[in-house]
Symmetry: C2
Amino acid sequence: MDQVWSHYKEALDEVEEQIKKGLDSEVPLINQVAYHILNSGGKRIRPLLLIISAQLCSSIDKRHIMLAGMTEFIHTATLLHDDVLDNAEIRRGIPAARMLWGNQASILVGDYLYTLAVCQAVKMENFEINYLLSTTCRRMSEGETLQLVHSRDLNLTEATYLQIIEYKTAALLSASCKLGGIIGSESDERKEALSRYGRNLGIAFQVADDTLDYVADRARLGKTPGRDIKEGKVTLPLLHLLQHCSSKEKTELKKIIKKGAYRKKDLSQVIELMERYGSITYARQKAQDYANRAKNDLAIFNDSIHRQALCSVADYVVRRDH
Amino acid sequence: MDQVWSHYKEALDEVEEQIKKGLDSEVPLINQVAYHILNSGGKRIRPLLLIISAQLCSSIDKRHIMLAGMTEFIHTATLLHDDVLDNAEIRRGIPAARMLWGNQASILVGDYLYTLAVCQAVKMENFEINYLLSTTCRRMSEGETLQLVHSRDLNLTEATYLQIIEYKTAALLSASCKLGGIIGSESDERKEALSRYGRNLGIAFQVADDTLDYVADRARLGKTPGRDIKEGKVTLPLLHLLQHCSSKEKTELKKIIKKGAYRKKDLSQVIELMERYGSITYARQKAQDYANRAKNDLAIFNDSIHRQALCSVADYVVRRDH
């Protein structure tokens, strides 16, 4: 994966410049808050996917750099709102924006970054791009709301869980890949293949993320593990555990999930049960399945360094430890 | 003004239908929250302005109805976020959405309504419309952030106050008017006249609103008066008072503003001082000045029932008692 990052470094550096240049509000607080979160060490996975997809289709030009910056603005807008929704104190190992500037600023700068992305998209005067980005953003807010609706829902099904993560996470990753093909004027078939690749990759990414929340090392994760269960998010490992543990254990788990703010030993107990019932293994395998599907989606493209790069990204998202 | 409402009733009824039809998310909670606030008795001033402006320019068709619905979605999105920012308990005489479904749902449904409006705008495939709506939304979030920056700022100038309300309120009213001219393919000159009318009307509207916060009757206002000073919003009447009262009174006012959650008698004291120093009269006059400017902006149009209607709206926004 290191090779992938370095191969596209030049374009990604241009994206960084683009992001910095975009933060030009006449209200300094907006630039300050946005700069804080945009420079907190995000992986830039969406820009990377867009750049590789563009190269896979033809070559990159400054419109791809613009679009890559927009995907990061949209992603960052959701992070600012997520941190308010989740009362998060830490993001990527540093204080969340809301801890430094408050919830109000986080909500408003989130709103701003989203409108900034829309403004930039509109300027490109390409309806296909505008249509894709706007429907993606709508899907994302639907996914977040669906997650809220199913907060602490012990009867959440795997199908609904997958719908939630497809909407809240995979939609933007899918759009990032497809955008690479739109400007390259690819055939609908090839654009759809990129879209499917991004969707499956996105699901793999989120399932891996949800698993890491239970097993990752605190320092590497950049946030406190076990946050999901604390916030009432029933994710795949927990969902699997609830479906396979004994009824006595289930009663115990219900108590832990319902009360939300639990003790450290509650989390250890949950993780121990997950290990015993293979819930972590199950979730990891599920993530790998989706990563494999993503790689298969690329079969339509000739083998190339760029197709290989997308395959490496698919492997990376499920194997990373943070 | 009653005549104005009834003259455009048919088109406004179509806008209501359009709004209802637009709430078709597959996530029922979104429709429920959005329906609650959209049916809480909002005046629909933005749709009204758009419809009158369209008629003034040519005639209305279904695109104007669509656009009018969008302005209301955008407005409603900001209300949902505002209520979270302000910890508001009541909106238009009924519980704020956040009191019924929580802050999280209010933030997310606000995000959704905004993206819904963008999706609908994109479908119209008109760059001028998309450009206007997206820059307007960016301005609005800048205005809200600027207001936050100047929270409890005793040195706020009238110029900055006017900038805040121009961005947070007048921008969307201005856009609503201009949209009426865009589809009618009006000359740039006439579109700009509509835009200026809406901007000045919007400033008049917000100054009047900020004055009503001190003097309106609770029942008619649909919310508790005196909220602005409680939330640290320094608006025109208070700004005027701070500039004209004695230094002893200023010290007392500072205390009241700083502590935020003050007693009922603090508010009475502030209002009494405002009456004594003519701050309410000053703010009312300022609102009237902007309403007059708005009316003058229409000089470019021939006299017609529609031009008269826009003048009536200008008078109405400064004379209303809630």
